[in-house]
Symmetry: C2
Subunit: 338 residues, 2 copies
């Protein structure tokens, strides 16, 4: 069924039916000029857009996963602020000849993320475009503590940490596009695929870090570890040094790189879309952070330290110091095959 | 200068410089994973997207006005909920070959609206698209009263009101596309152009209505009066009867229609983008509403009444009753020349 056959209002009704739910904090949800919500505390807000062909491709990710991932990208930002995700507004730009069933599948993915992470769609907008499909997600959250976790608090001698493992999403794109005849174990393929298609926003880690006194800065990894570290360095006015052999690279990325003579560190630094949290912690508190994270089943790795320097990022690899560029995923400067 | 020359981060810096400002309710503004804001009361949220070629066209509206109008469309929704507009998140989807200067002009329009209506841009996202430019604005507000103004409260015997005048924006599009050789006075051309390019969101009216006890429902007019009345009728489970000779049609629309043998009521009912508020008021309070509005310099007209009926809208024109369709601006069903 085509979008043109059901019209804007018919499409709205169908998509609304997929995501609508009861939520005590939603005084008025989808269906009026605006939604009305209530928060116990300061409100965190972010918006994140994805364009078909730029941020997602049919051959790399299914429709349900597109919806899921569009939500996760926003929740990841909220988590990295030390806030509990609460509400979503979804804007869809679609062509008249798009299949309604495809949009419903995307909304089922949105629904899965909403149920899994306890957030509610409270509204949105649907517009027609002759261009590629676009999904824009505005997410809100409420702070766990009195203050948000910002990029700007890193201090000299702080240690740099990162949650989970990194590089998997970027390596999956590379695998699919250039090396899908490389022999990888089903477990490795599955591991890479899940990191690309079904990433986990670090909401538990965000809660832990919000309550943890020694955490001085955080950033979520959407554009790549190098880019996010640059942002912390610039916002905090410090230098950052990280060690290559401390990077928690996804094991499947190492296996893939071994078979293809590719550089696993590149995926870790520049791959992007890991949706982990990178941040800094005062040196005296680092041990406590690792212990508390372990107790809650959250993986946290120390990967480097903050130095008094111009805002740049240095990688130590086999004893060599390399000043590394931002070079994260810049949508306007990407190469054709990225 | 092209977008590709400055890159995503360079573009962000330039556009941020245009709209950033001091605001006591913004604890953390543009530049981190998310913004942090604080509200005195329940929060109203809405999002509104505009696509180049669908919602705006170069020949009908300049770049500054595009930015201004994108903001106004969202503020109009907030006002119609009985809320004071507070914060904006702006998402831009642009091509790599777009002129940065054009985007800066759009942002100057956003800035004008922000200053005029006392709202603050707290964040957003910029993404690349091979398709047409799109601007999506998420707006928040805080309720003036304990309860929002909804679509669903209209009751039998209530009277129907509308603020300001209507039809001007739709007539301007028609004038530009089909009849720009029609002789109109400079005052009439200016009146139509301002209604299309620089509409006024009904924020004062929203505040008045929020505090006014007898107001039972409201809706902002973005898709056309007929469509908005249908939404009130459907949400409230009532019928609505309006009288053609009571419609506050913009005088310039009447002049234009007289010279072109066009139907002024059609522009009033289906033109859309008037950004006025239509609503219902209990019959005993209608006089007080008119008096209070007049005292504040807000134009309010009574145009019909609510009846016990199936949710439909009836127009009385020269004594004839016509059941009229929704037929507002449906982006997916629009004709080529709409």
């Amino acid at each position: 069924m085509l979008v043109a056959q059901v019209g804007e209002f018919g499409l709205l009704d169908r998509l609304r039916a997929i995501v609508e739910k009861q939520d005590d904090t939603v005084l008025l949800g989808i269906g009026d000029d605006a939604a009305v919500v209530t928060y116990p505390h300061h409100v965190v807000m972010t918006t994140d857009a994805m364009v078909y062909g730029i941020h997602f491709r049919e051959d790399l990710i299914g429709d349900v996963a597109i919806g899921y991932k569009a939500v996760v990208a926003s929740l990841s930002d909220i988590a990295a602020m030390g806030a509990k995700p609460m509400h979503l507004l979804i804007t869809l730009a679609v062509s008249q000849t798009q299949e309604v069933e495809q949009l419903e599948a995307i909304y089922r993915g949105i629904k899965i993320a909403c149920d899994r992470y306890d957030v509610t769609v409270i509204g949105g907008d649907i517009v027609s475009t002759p261009g590629p499909m676009m999904i824009s997600v505005t997410a809100t959250g409420t702070l766990y503590a009195q203050q948000p976790l910002k990029r700007s608090g890193a201090k000299t001698d702080d240690l740099v940490f990162v949650t989970g493992d990194i590089g998997g999403s970027g390596a999956y794109i590379d695998y699919q596009k250039h090396h899908d005849r490389v022999v990888l174990s089903p477990e490795d393929i599955d591991a890479l695929q899940r990191r690309h298609q079904e990433p986990t926003p670090q909401i538990l880690a965000g809660e832990l870090l919000a309550h943890f006194k020694g955490c001085t800065s955080t950033n979520d990894i959407s554009d790549g570890l190098a880019s996010e570290l640059h942002e912390i360095a610039a916002a905090s006015g410090v230098g950052i040094v990280i060690e290559a052999d401390r990077l928690p690279i996804c094991p499947a990325v190492r296996h893939y790189c071994k078979r293809t003579q590719r550089d696993a560190e590149s995926f870790a630094l520049y791959g992007g879309e890991d949706y982990q949290i990178v941040g800094t912690v005062s040196p005296i508190s680092a041990g406590a952070l690792l212990a508390q994270a372990q107790a809650q089943g959250i993986r946290v790795s120390l990967i480097g330290r903050v130095i008094e320097d111009t805002p740049q990022v240095t990688l130590i690899d086999h004893g060599q110091h390399h000043v590394i560029g931002k070079n994260g995923y810049d949508h306007f400067r990407q190469k054709e095959d990225e």
